[in-house]
Symmetry: C2
Subunit: 252 residues, 2 copies
């Protein structure tokens, strides 16, 4: 990297309802594209924005991280005003929460040591109209204690093939380490916190869907252990909808 560029780390929140996920899209609009365009308009000559993670259509973020390189001569804005400057060119459902100067070797994706996702569930006969696009409406009985117990089964280093979506590349390793899977909150509002060193396609949504099926008594803990061991996607529970999921934080 030439020395006349400066690198910045951005923390970005977005309401994913209107977008086809974070990444650039051939069809439909990705959040990344809008942030990238806003940066380039404000800081001409900026390089392409690089995000820490892809997110599915409809998934939200409170702590997406991205890096960008900006020509030094274009940096007429003090760092404390950088987020404001970019936000002024973004729609209201996307906001840069923080901007900070980072070392030239920082990489939002490759340096990420782990991530936390949160999955929100509303367990009540009526959905929450004020939060309807940010949690999954699951009416009917849910055994939350069974979900809490089963959540522990996911924790640790496992081959998550049977919990991953089918779009992973064949060569990719399915082994990931989850450091936390916990069901928190009180009915009707439950949150599943999922933290780990890396995530396969649809892994969080499949964990949430499987835990709900455990709460509904459709799968039991022994079956879940069996599903994980089978390493076969067809064995796992359902995929929870995208709109309940939030990329909460990326750890470096």
């Amino acid at each position: 990297m030439p020395s006349d560029f400066q690198k910045f780390k951005l923390v970005i929140a977005f309401d994913g309802t209107a977008y086809q996920g974070w990444q650039m899209q051939k069809i439909g609009l990705g959040v990344q594209q809008l942030v990238d365009e806003a940066i380039k308009r404000r800081f001409p000559g900026a390089k392409r924005l690089v995000g820490s993670s892809r997110t599915d259509t409809g998934v939200h973020a409170r702590g997406m991280v991205a890096h960008v390189e900006i020509p030094e001569e274009g940096m007429r804005v003090p760092i404390r005003r950088m987020a404001l400057a970019i936000n002024s060119l973004l729609p209201h459902d996307i906001r840069v929460l923080q901007a900070s100067r980072v070392h030239a070797r920082f990489h939002a994706q490759f340096d990420a040591k782990g991530k936390q996702y949160r999955y929100y569930i509303r367990n009540h006969h009526a959905h929450d109209p004020l939060n309807r696009q940010q949690c999954w409406h699951v009416p009917g009985k849910l055994d939350v204690d069974a979900m809490k117990e089963a959540a522990k089964i996911f924790v640790g280093r496992h081959n998550f093939r049977s919990i991953a979506g089918t779009q992973n590349y064949e060569r990719e390793s399915y082994v990931r380490t989850l450091t936390k899977v916990a069901v928190q909150g009180r009915k009707p509002d439950l949150t599943i916190i999922i933290e780990g060193d890396g995530f396969l396609y649809k892994m969080c949504r499949n964990i949430a869907g499987t835990l709900v099926q455990i709460g509904q008594g459709k799968i039991d803990a022994a079956e879940l252990r069996d599903i994980l061991e089978k390493q076969d996607r067809t064995a796992a529970g359902m995929t929870a909808p995208a709109h309940g999921l939030v990329l909460w934080k990326v750890f470096y």
Copy 2:
């Protein structure tokens, strides 16, 4: 009331973003009208729905209460399915959370002993994109301790004329008793809880606006006491925007 009607109490939540408030409107759409129409479609012969409170355009509710009388012969639905039956005819931004049978003399408005409102504030340079329609974005420094102290000044029995909107009827008493005014939460997310036996037009939004001006150092506690004593609207602080306000609960 003829004995062939049964009376029901409904607890209703709604996202007020798309509506001109709760009450029926000559121009624009009130939430009450949609709930009323859904009930009459499902339970032909039902009387007009009566709500506990009016709400301004854009204000939300988690605990609006209303009563309705339904002909006994129309009650083919068990009470536990009543909310579901009405919700199936409502848009997703309005939900009946509870339905219960009440005494024939119950009145949602006249029997209300008190109400709790909550006002949400986001004190950060960037608004929260996931909550942008349900809290007021107040960037810049806010002295939350000063707000907490000043909130206590509102508590008690006062003439709130200088805190009310200008649309109150001349003859109406401006005396109300507030049992709780408290600023809670941690930056960047603050909540003002306001509880009392009755509320004047725009009273909650004016309390929130005045407390923010205290946090910004534009008004001090002595001035607030003076404003309350003056009983003159022109003396008070600004009116906070509607979308930060939620009718939280009605007490009976």
